[in-house]
Amino acid sequence: MSDAACFHCGEPIPRGVDFFIRIESTPRALCCRGCQAVAQAIVDNGLADYYKNRTQLPQRGHELLPAELEQLRLYDHPQIQKSFVLESGAHLKQAVLILEGITCAACVWLNERHLLQLPGVKSVQVNYGSHRARVSWDEREINLSRILAEIQLLGYQAHPYNAQSAAALREKRHKKDLRRLAIAGISAAQVMMFAVALYAGAWYGMEAGTAGLLRWASLTLTLPVMFYAAQPFYSAAGSALRSRHLNMDVPVVIALVSAFVGSVYNTLLGAGHVYFDAISMFTLFLLGTRLLEQNARERSVEAAENLLKLAPAMATRVSDAGQQCVPVLELIPGDRLLVKPGEAFPADGTVESGASAVDEALLTGESRPVAKLVGSGVIAGSINLDSPLTMIVTGIGEHTVLASIVRMLDHALAEKPRLAQLADRVSGYFTWALLGVTLLVGLAWWAVEADRAFEIVLALLVVTCPCALSLAAPAALAAAGSHLLRRGVLITRGHALETLAQVTRVVFDKTGTLTVGKPVLQATQALAELDAARCLQLAASLEQASEHPLAQPFLACVKPTELLPVSDARNELGRGVSGDVEGRRYYIGRTELAGHVTQSSTDSGMTQVWLADESRLLARFELADALRNDAKALVDMLKARGMKLSILSGDDPATVRHIGDQLGIDDCRGGLKPADKLAALQAMQAAGEVVMMLGDGVNDAPVLAAAQVSLAMGGGTQVARATSDIVLLSERLPEVGHALNVSRLAMSIMRQNFAWAIAYNLIAVPVAALGLVSPWLAAIGMSASSLIVVVNALRLR
């Protein structure tokens, strides 16, 4: 055995040493405990592929200093980074990390600020909802392990994000929270019983020994609450103090600790009041509200995470050697995959052979199956319904449409709208003010009635509720966002909902947004003795030879069996098609047809195509881009809401006019260059209007960016490139109207929440300061206040 090499570092394994690691059920020999720890870390993090892909051996495990730092250093390896790091520019890298130990907004702030101070870290955004941090850094100045180590120094655990480990972590934390809640609940119920006995005893008279016994019993049952159930508050308050930033956990901990110390003192003394009942109840209610709030937030994050889970882990690769089942991680662009009916597509790609219907509902909200033919694009995560398809992989992992949707969603959740930022700042000041006021009130009561000072200070600390203030906005935003996503509307920027609620004018960026984007035959006019049907048949037969986009609508109108054979078909570029049908030569095209002069009238907004034979014109066809079925519904909906509507298009003005007339939009401007659109937009904005722009999101980035809020049609694969604030994944226009409704509702719920939080505190603080609230009543009051905020927000779902 002495010449065997360590599976991890490649060094010879000394005689008599027996370290093993199981990788995919194969035991591997290792040289030392250090290597074992590192290898275990790699395997446990689901990164065992590192061993398959690595090109160089790492340093021996124990040669690096602390074991923790060493585990982190693994994440610098390019092979390992491949699965979760995105190159966002030259030397610029971006990764999503899960942070364990985030309990409050201060943790988010602490991490963000600390990391930003490091040289080379370009941006940090921590999502409070999903506990994910998006970090981008310059790899020349800093490496990922240093960033992870810094996070650990702060007392948090950072892991690279992959969807499965996030779910496992969440489940672990959820169970821990439930255990804390259970402890607090059991103890609160029982301590309350003792408290009733004590109150009754104080009223009717009770032996000092009996009262002492009950106090001791209460103390015993409160111990697990203080030392186990209330732990999250201590760690949150501690991290807040470390960052020299106050949050609501600080007064909570002051209240808990002082109530406990005071009660223990009175118990030892055998006289005076004890507050064990208030401690247990306060902890129970706080934990309960937090659990509810967390569940609400997580459900909205789940919507995004479920998307990632759509993509399967294994794929069937087809090669010359036959079919082979391979992990999705091993796929590379260009691979040929077989996707059977009922299976989900493992990667983005194009159909190489076969035809089938595909269910993209979870991505777009569109419940009808979408037909896929050779050459169609397919999206990872959508489900093949009818028959087997062979596809060529074009995008995998981080580069799929699915991943980019999740990335955008994450980004939006991390960005806080103005109102939420304000609330965060205010609740910081609020806590300072609260501590100051408490001190003053405490001193005043000390001077007036020293006996009651302690109880009143306690009630004051407990009754105030800055958490309702800081929850008011995020709870509503998260609920609205997840509701809209289920309807196929993806919010990609934090401010989008807020702005959407204020929109006064909707601008359609181009006619393609309102139309299907394919020309359809609108009218046929026979000009000679041949009837319209015959002309159409001739036209379609001729167009068989053409690949011009205008050929499709003709072929769509005539059954394939009715097409006539055409001989000597000639496709003259820019002119049209000519060919012999049943012995006669026919011409079809737009102008200058076989020497005939065609007088085209362009005022109808139609595209005209003419059919002729050698001697005369036979028919005129009018083609136009058809409106989307639901365009009219959207326009009516917006008008009913008092929105002003405009079309700013680069298309032919007559076409634009025609579409505007059909829909009832008065302000239609055609023939605009992007610069003209921008100028028109700025003119509207100068007039004080809040403009929402609808476009296809890909070609008009600057114009979309100039609008206060932009919405892009994001069907299929375009979504990855879209640059707008909102993406309409479903391509169902009426959802735009729905999104407007939801945004207004969300804003009004946010305002209600703020009003409630402010009013509650304005009333509760003076009442408590006057000594009218006992500590246990204060505990109920503050919990009810945050509960109302969260439940109100959940109405949006």
Partner: protein
């Protein structure tokens, strides 16, 4: 009086311990993971063949061949 009280308090603590263990077990076995599923599941008729009326029918079916 006091000794009775001590006995009762001790009993309380034992009961609380048992309750706590029970809840911890329930949490560990994942009974709180899905709060909606079980309430729906009660409506599923997977116990249909056990109902007396059905039982007669199923028995009859069994005897038929």
């Amino acid at each position: 009086m006091t000794s009775t009280l001590i006995f009762l308090l001790g009993l309380t603590c034992i009961f609380l311990l048992l309750i706590g263990l029970g809840i911890f077990w329930a949490i560990k076995s994942g009974q709180f993971e899905d709060m909606e599923g079980p309430s729906q599941r009660i409506l599923m008729d997977d116990d249909d063949p056990l109902l007396p009326r059905r039982r007669v029918e199923t028995d009859a079916l069994k005897k038929a061949p």
